[in-house]
């Protein structure tokens, strides 16, 4: 149980250091798996072609699988620790904010940080704020500590997992735990005055981190400054990026209005429409033309709707990417990515079914973590807030090398 003194004197940077160590070891496991599979096992295949040689190569590939699983699980520990460290840092800021506020008004706190004489204090509103901030700091720290404890215990016991699919499932769970640790930092349900005091208690870095990690929760919170909300929505005013993210997070496991089968890009288009991006319609072609984008209401007959109302720019990843870039979209470096941007997967390595240079998948960026790790949400197959760094090795293994392209749409047709 976190104590008042424990939270005031917390050292979140120690947890961040531990997270970095796990990431370094995860990267080693990943590289070792690549070397063993692509180099050593391949050479054994080539130079020892008899049955015994095949057994040796198979043993090497099993070891590579084990190292791949280790990557997933070590990366999972890293994610849980980043979430906890960020939560700890913001909880500490919040508690310090309460202490400073109390000091400024001469309000005395006891050894646990409670206001000593709440009934006799003259500044009732300030006493309320101090109490609320204290309460928020402890609640978020307690919740995150519990979540981290339980997940770390699972990951401690996961060393026996050798199946990469099982390891990936646990990685997805850890990614969600990290998001929950960050969500716990937001004082949902608090009154606007407390929210404003909470926001003001955070450092500039913490505010920035939370804007990238939890934009939907923040934009819906009364008391957050309007200019902060506008920055998260998107400053060009063309569409509301937080609504795009909210749609993706709410609909990741729901059917599309028109079922187009492999519908990753259709899902991205739906999320952009939900954010308020306007359709681009041709006079004769509606939304079906080469330079159109959007969706019409549809007849409710799936086959008919697919043919009448779904154009390539809406449901084909390559066409969608090129359309967005042709119409004001900005290609971003990885460190510029924010929630509401689109990530496109362009084939860079050999694949029998996908030509090099073809963009074959698209997803919505739904969060960026304090350490720069990107979370995305997608259809086909459906996942919510999964880690780009965590899953890329699996994508490479399954489909060959990928070139990730990040695009921020800036529609120029309205």
């Amino acid at each position: 149980m976190v104590t008042y003194a424990g939270l005031l004197n917390a050292r979140p940077e120690q947890w961040t250091n531990a997270a970095e160590e796990y990431e370094v070891l995860a990267k080693y496991a990943y590289q070792a798996a690549r070397d063993i599979r692509d180099d050593h096992a391949a050479k054994v295949d080539e130079h020892w072609a008899d049955a015994t040689g095949q057994l040796a190569a198979e043993r090497l590939r099993t070891l590579a699988d084990q190292l791949d699983s280790a990557y997933d699980l070590l990366f999972s520990v890293k994610m849980v620790l980043v979430g906890l460290a960020t939560n700890m840092r913001t909880a500490q800021d919040t508690l310090n904010g309460a202490v400073t506020l109390a000091r400024n008004y001469g309000i005395e706190l006891d050894h646990d940080g409670y206001v000593m004489f709440p009934e006799v204090e003259e500044h009732k509103d300030i006493v309320h704020e101090v109490s609320e901030l204290r309460s928020q700091a402890f609640k978020q720290a307690y919740d995150a500590d519990r979540m981290a404890h339980d997940e770390l215990a699972k990951l401690r016991d996961a060393v026996s997992i050798v199946n990469p699919d099982d390891a990936l499932a646990l990685q997805e769970e850890a990614s969600h735990v990290e998001m929950s640790e960050l969500a716990a930092t937001i004082p949902t349900g608090a009154d606007p005055v407390t929210v404003r005091a909470w926001w003001n208690s955070l450092s500039a870095k913490d505010r920035h981190d939370l804007m990238l990690a939890e934009p939907v929760a923040l934009v819906n919170l009364e008391g957050i400054p309007e200019d902060v909300k506008q920055e998260m929505r998107g400053e060009d005013g063309k569409f509301d990026r937080t609504k795009t993210v909210a749609f993706a997070l709410e609909h990741w496991d729901k059917a599309d209005r028109i079922d187009t089968g492999n519908n990753c890009t259709n899902f991205v288009s739906e999320a952009l429409l939900a954010g308020g991006m306007e359709k681009k319609m041709g006079f004769w072609t509606g939304v079906k033309g080469d330079d159109d984008w959007g969706i019409e209401t549809g007849t409710g007959w799936n086959w008919l709707d697919q043919h009448l109302y779904v154009g390539d720019n809406r449901d084909n990843a390559e066409a969608n990417q090129n359309f967005m870039l042709r119409h004001g979209g900005e290609e971003l470096t990885r460190d510029q990515v924010r929630p509401g941007d689109i990530v496109y997967f362009e084939q860079a390595g050999p694949n029998e079914g996908i030509a090099r240079g073809d963009t074959h998948h698209a997803a919505v960026v739904t969060a960026v973590m304090p350490d720069g790790e990107i979370k995305y949400t997608q259809h086909s197959d459906p996942h919510q807030n999964i880690s780009l760094d965590g899953r890329t090795p699996h994508a490479v293994e399954a489909e060959g090398q990928q070139n990730l392209r990040f695009v921020r749409p800036h529609p120029d047709w309205y």
């Binding site: 424990g6 160590e21 080693y28 049955a51 040689g53 040796a56 280790a70 770390l152 215990a153």
Partner: protein, 106 residues
């Protein structure tokens, strides 16, 4: 190819074994104490103790995997050396037969 057939380039397989051993030796040094920061986190949080346990479990597991890498490397080298030794032995036998033929041939 049937189970009885032998198809190996022993020098190349031996090289793979040596590379694996060298990489394993390097990795063993890197992995030892690679997660010591987990023991340095402040106590007073429920997660602190389990993080330390997690670090020990993962360091041990990673050392075991690297040990497996070294063992496979050793086995590859031994197998390749075995084939080389067999070849040398059989070549020796064949030279002996050739010699016998030369001495006793008509």
């Amino acid at each position: 190819m049937g189970h009885g057939d032998i198809d190996i380039r022993a020098d190349k397989v031996k090289r793979v074994g040596a590379d694996l051993q060298a990489e394993a030796r390097y990795a063993q040094g890197r992995i030892a104490h690679s997660l010591d920061g987990s023991d340095a986190v402040q106590s007073g949080w429920e997660s602190a103790q389990v993080l330390g346990e997690c670090a020990r479990a993962w360091e041990t597991h990673m050392q075991a995997l690297v040990g497996e890498m070294a063992a496979i490397g050793t086995n590859l080298q031994s197998a390749a050396q075995g084939h080389t030794n067999n070849d040398v032995f059989v070549q020796g036998l064949l030279r002996g037969i050739d010699g016998a033929d030369g001495l006793g041939g008509s």
